[in-house]
């Protein structure tokens, strides 16, 4: 598979003077599952917004399939960190999930099926007719996830998508994501604060330094592609990797310089 994303010397300064991203370079293959971790406030959300074409970088290049990203691409879906605010209170759960499908020339039946499947997958079939403000925090977050799933994107960008759900649901959703990735070959960029999650899900973990952020470490996850909540997490290599990532974050937080 070819190169999907290329980020080179990316830099983003929020006016007047907050340097969120210092100088960031990495590439990502098509079909890869890349996890991004880093200290709070280091610039992960900012990076995702630049990748998704929602924010114009101050400097550097973001390329997708070799062409510079100038705006949101139709092949991409995003799950926002601020899940609550990304749902439209005037639409029901179903309406929110269906909304992005409207311009996807699908038959009515097809569309209904996609929506129903996605809502089912996140375990919200029983509240499909409720409005978002009638749901709990975790349920709202799952609506946002369902919306992205139903959209059937080629690239899925997720910003701490499981922050507000319980351990069991989280495990189920993690497996759902792995499954999507494996069967449909979707490329996924996944931001998380949970180091175990990053290692369990990712094929590669990108550790970012504190703001202004740089790449602090780029660790390939050499676990078998067939993963399982029990056995994979019990592997010694898993523990090794998670310790490695954890230490990198800790150093990033302490602001140590990146080894060249």
């Amino acid at each position: 598979m070819g190169e999907l994303l290329r980020v080179e010397h990316l830099r983003k300064v929020y006016e007047p003077a907050t340097e969120a991203i210092g100088d960031l370079s990495f590439t990502m293959r098509a079909g890869e599952l890349l996890c991004v971790v880093g200290p709070s406030g280091c610039g992960k959300t900012t990076l995702l917004k630049c990748l998704a074409g929602l924010l114009r970088p101050t400097g550097g290049v973001v390329e997708m399939h070799g062409a510079p990203v100038t705006g949101p691409s139709p092949a991409m879906a995003v799950v926002f960190q601020e899940y609550g605010r990304s749902l439209y209170p005037w639409l029901t759960v179903r309406g929110n999930v269906e909304l992005p499908l409207r311009h996807k020339r699908l038959s009515r039946v097809e569309r209904a099926r996609l929506v129903a499947d996605a809502v089912e997958a996140v375990g919200l079939a029983h509240v499909a007719r409720s409005h978002p403000w009638q749901l709990s925090g975790g349920m709202q977050q799952r609506v946002a996830i369902a919306r992205a799933l139903a959209y059937e994107p080629d690239v899925l960008i997720m910003d701490e998508p499981f922050a507000a759900v319980d351990a069991q649901t989280r495990a189920d959703l993690e497996d759902l994501v792995r499954d999507l990735h494996a069967t449909r070959g979707i490329s996924i960029v996944f931001v998380t604060h949970d180091v175990d999650e990053a290692v369990y899900l990712g094929e590669r973990v990108l550790v970012l330094s504190g703001a202004p952020t740089r790449v602090r470490a780029d660790l390939p996850v050499d676990l078998p592609p067939e993963r399982d909540q029990r056995s994979t997490r019990a592997l010694p290599r898993f523990t090794e990797l998670r310790t490695q990532v954890y230490e990198q974050i800790q150093r990033a937080k302490r602001g140590q310089n990146v080894a060249p």
Binding site: E15, L54, L55, R56, G71
Partner: protein, 257 residues
């Protein structure tokens, strides 16, 4: 970037002036009824050099300012109260809906009866009309407080007064700003209309005089003055708004791609 906005605005005004000049010039409208812009502006300059004009302008603007201040003050206080207390809101609903649409013009005889042919009569009309603009906005604004934000205040035992100052008024501020801008325009319109109808001295009376004299150029010059006044008022309130609402989406929100 700073200069872009006024430049564009000026371009809009200029385009309008050009269209105006062309209408009579191409004979689409008789110039007796729609005189050339150039003539009107010429007259305007003449007026601007006349002290009497400024005196009348002063009279009109002082009724405007006094009326607007009273109306805004009263509406903010009453609107906040009515908006916050469900009992008051429900009890006053029909009365408000009844009083609000009563044309201020129809109240002029009443005002004259109470206050005579004086500035105070005009003030009553101005206050009455502009009060409702702010009042309604205040009620809506006060009701728009975010649930989580409100619960936060409640759970920290924030006092009533602080809640008002730090939560309710900031939430209602964007609404209030719109309300005051609307009210400022309405107050100006009524200051002038009242002078036209009641006949106390000011810009309105000048308009009525040029109208009855069939002096189209003078009439349009004065209409332009009223328009310009409205513009100045808006520039002023926009400035205040940018100051007061720097945190608000509509002010900071221009960055999204």
């Amino acid at each position: 970037m700073r200069v872009r906005k006024p430049l564009l605005g000026a371009a809009g005004l200029l385009a309008f002036l050009v269209v105006w000049q062309l209408l009579p010039a191409l004979g689409l409208v008789d110039r007796q009824y729609l005189p050339y812009v150039t003539d009107v502006l010429g007259r305007l300059v003449e007026e601007l050099r006349d002290l009497a004009f400024w005196r009348r302008l002063g009279l009109t603007m002082s009724s405007w300012a006094i009326g607007l201040t009273i109306a805004t003050g009263a509406a903010v206080v009453l609107g906040t109260m009515v908006g916050l207390v469900p009992f008051l809101r429900r009890a006053t609903h029909t009365t408000v809906e009844f009083l609000r649409p009563i044309p201020s013009v129809a109240l002029i005889p009443l005002a004259v009866l109470l206050f005579g042919i004086q500035q105070r009569a005009a003030l009553v009309i101005i206050v009455y009309a502009s009060f409702w603009q702010v009042f309604v906005q205040m009620i809506y604004g006060v009701a728009d407080v975010d649930a989580v934000a409100r619960d936060t205040a409640r759970s920290f035992g924030v006092t009533r007064r602080e809640r008002l100052v730090y939560l309710i008024l900031p939430t209602a501020l964007p609404y209030l700003m719109t309300g005051v801008r609307l009210a400022a325009a309405v107050a100006l319109i009524l200051a002038i209309t009242a002078e036209m109808v009641i006949g106390n001295p000011g810009l309105g009376r000048m308009i009525e005089l040029s109208r009855s004299a069939g002096d189209a150029v003078g009439l349009y010059a004065l209409v332009v003055v009223t328009g310009l006044l409205g513009l100045l008022v808006n520039v002023f309130f926009r400035f205040v708004e940018r100051r007061a609402l720097s945190w608000h989406q509509s002010v900071r929100g221009e960055e999204v791609l």
